[in-house]
Amino acid sequence: MDVNRRDILKGLLSGSALAAVATAGVPVAKAGKAEAVVPVPDAVGLMYDATKCIGCRACMPACQNANGLQPDPGGSGGLYMQPDTLNAHTKNLIKLYVAADGHERSFMKQQCMHCVDPACVSGCPMAALHKEPHGVVGWNPTLCIGCRYCQIACPFNIPKFEWDKVNPKIVKCEMCRHLVGATETQPACTKVCPTHAVIYGKRSDLLAEAHKRIKEHPGFYFEDRVYGEFEGGGTQCLVLSHVDYSNLGLPKLDKESVPSHVRGVSDFIYRGFLTPVVVYGGIVAIVRNRWKDHLNDSDHGGNGKAHGEEKPV
């Protein structure tokens, strides 16, 4: 028994020493801090200025036509399009926020924010959700297994699922990536917007435009900031409004994206898969000794010898 205890200590010590030596050579970020993802240089996006939006909702049918979606009658009894949330028929929705006092109001265009470091892409086991060349978050139906981890992961609660289909799809704004560059120069929503409340362009240009507007109207926009510049590691769709962004369904998010924290933790544990390999080696070493011991142990299956074919194990 004493020998065994010594063995295991030896095994554990040599295992952890090996792990320490091996992992010291691998440059890894500290726990919880992986390298931040920055926008690709030609990242495109939308900028929605709620103070310019008149709530005409022209962008909604335009979006549905462009994406081949059926109109969603919502709770209207089938008479007209009236969805109350984004859903499997609705990738883009104009909502109206009215404060409790009835005075402060703002429209809000709800859709995929096309994060710089998207949680849905980070979580998607099959890389069905992915970043397109210009940073648009696209969905690939060929790879999606329908696990819906994207719905759990998305901080904006954007991806929707066709719950009533045998062959369900994930539905979310893909910035008309099937049209832009082919037959169109911009997504359907920005094309039809009569007041240019939502505009399409390079993210860097849109950010510059947002800051120009903030500078021209100091104190007008909420906290003089544009939502999406830094939130959750930054988004490619930006929002300007004069009301508190959290009232528009835009959550308060850290500057560091959640996926970067997840990568940090997993890098910390796995060290480029070195940890499992080293631990595996250590355990094999320990168990091999145990196994030899076990095979020789007369305590178990003592009458195997009489049987004469094989040592008892």
């Binding site: 979580g123 759990i152 369900p168 499992p276 194990v313």
Partner: protein
């Protein structure tokens, strides 16, 4: 009253007893509903929606219940790494609970995914997203099931082949067994590394959900806490299964094994409590535990169900009384399961006005998957020599055991 478990025996009892038929019927209902779900869509059988897109199947049957399936993993650490030889006679029971636990969990996962046919692309490593925690869980659980659990559960099956009376079968069994003897340590090590990976990854799953998980549960240490809890629940599950088996099938009560199992479970549980409260204090959210809102009450309930049994089981007299050991372990199990379940569903709040309560069909399916695990367990212990017994109870034809204690 205490006996010494040394060997594994097959239960000499007819398979088709009333409990077996009830569990099979429940499993059958789940299969019919699953078939209906495959023909229609998830929305027709579940209460899931775009806010709560994961429900009973993933959060209960997979994330929560596979912790109970960690028995084979947890007890193997005692038997093989810490070399506590007395645990070898219960290894077969332990790895069987893992097999049925993981098997039915993976079945639930397969029913839950919306586009299962695209699983074929897993064969192409180019499609893998190695950053995805869910990918890690899926690959690692499948590997564990195929490479480790199936192999660990082979000896009783080989033994049956060996004793079938057919010389060809006997020889084949011996050949496979000799191969297993050479590779066994590599398999055991795999059965340690893989569950360590995916049981901690299950904790990392909800880490990606960010602020949508309540701060009492949301921490970077979730993988560690989930892993420790997998050990606690693994020990607990084996203990409960053995206690129930001993009670119903008159196996006697090996105080040395069960008491020690209870003791290790208690220490592990206390370790979990220390880690949990150190983390809560470090993050400065401990005060939120006493706001007595919905989440605070979930937290206090979960903590009480883990804390009280752990402290009670510190007492030797409680561990040595079969009734007390069973009851405290049962309560601890409920507490542990709550910890694994709450962050995924009860303490998860998506933006917007979403509610989730599982539908009747969903509940029936979830119960049915678990009932399937019990039914397969009953079948296995009546077909193969799995449950432990004292040497005196071993029938003459089972006494010669080339595969003994594996």
């Amino acid at each position: 009253m205490t006996e010494r478990w040394e060997r594994c025996i097959r239960l000499k009892e007819p398979l088709f007893t009333k409990p077996f038929l009830i569990f099979s019927a429940l499993a059958g209902i789940a299969f019919l509903l699953s078939f209906y779900r495959e023909l229609t869509g998830l929305g027709y059988v579940t209460g899931l929606n775009d806010g709560y897109s994961w429900g009973l199947f993933k959060n209960w049957n997979v994330t929560t219940l596979t912790a109970l399936g960690s028995g084979g993993y947890a007890v193997a650490v005692l038997a093989w790494i810490f070399n506590e030889k007395k645990f070898h006679p219960i290894m077969r029971t332990a790895v069987l609970t893992s097999l049925v636990g993981y098997g039915t969990g993976m079945l639930a996962l397969g029913i839950d995914v919306g586009r299962p046919w695209n699983f074929v692309w897993l064969a192409d490593p180019q499609t893998w997203n190695r950053h995805s925690v869910l990918w890690e869980v899926a690959i690692c659980m499948t590997s564990y099931f195929i490479l480790a659990l199936d192999v660990e559960n082979m000896p009783p099956f080989l033994e049956k082949l060996y004793r079938s009376g057919d010389p060809a079968k006997k020889e084949r069994a011996m050949k496979i067994f000799q191969f297993m003897q050479k590779t066994f340590p590599f398999g055991i090590a795999l059965a340690f590394v893989l569950p360590s990976m995916h049981q901690s990854s299950l904790g990392a799953l909800m880490y990606l959900a960010g602020t949508r998980v309540h701060p009492l549960w949301y921490t970077a240490r979730m993988p560690l806490l989930y892993l420790i809890m997998a050990y606690v629940l693994g020990f607990a599950c084996v203990l409960l299964v053995l206690a129930l088996s001993a009670y119903f099938w008159d196996l006697g009560w090996d105080l040395e094994i069960l008491g020690r199992l209870g003791q290790v479970m208690t220490w592990t549980s206390l370790l979990w409590l220390v880690a949990q409260f150190a983390d809560l204090a470090y993050r400065g959210v401990l005060a939120q535990a006493f706001t007595f809102d919905k989440y605070s009450i979930y937290f206090l309930l979960e903590t009480a169900l883990i804390l009280i049994p752990s402290f009670m089981l510190l007492s030797k007299s409680q561990r040595e009384s079969p009734g007390a050991l069973f009851r405290w372990t049962f309560l601890l199990t409920i507490g542990g399961l709550l910890y694994r379940f709450i962050p995924t569903t009860l303490a998860f709040s998506p933006l917007g006005d979403y509610r989730y309560f599982p539908s009747v069909a969903e509940i029936m399916m979830s119960i049915g998957f678990t009932a399937l695990a019990v039914a397969v367990f009953l079948y296995a212990v009546k077909t193969f020599a799995i449950l432990p017994a004292s040497a005196g109870k071993v029938a003459a034809e089972e006494a010669m055991q080339p595969f003994d204690t594996l």
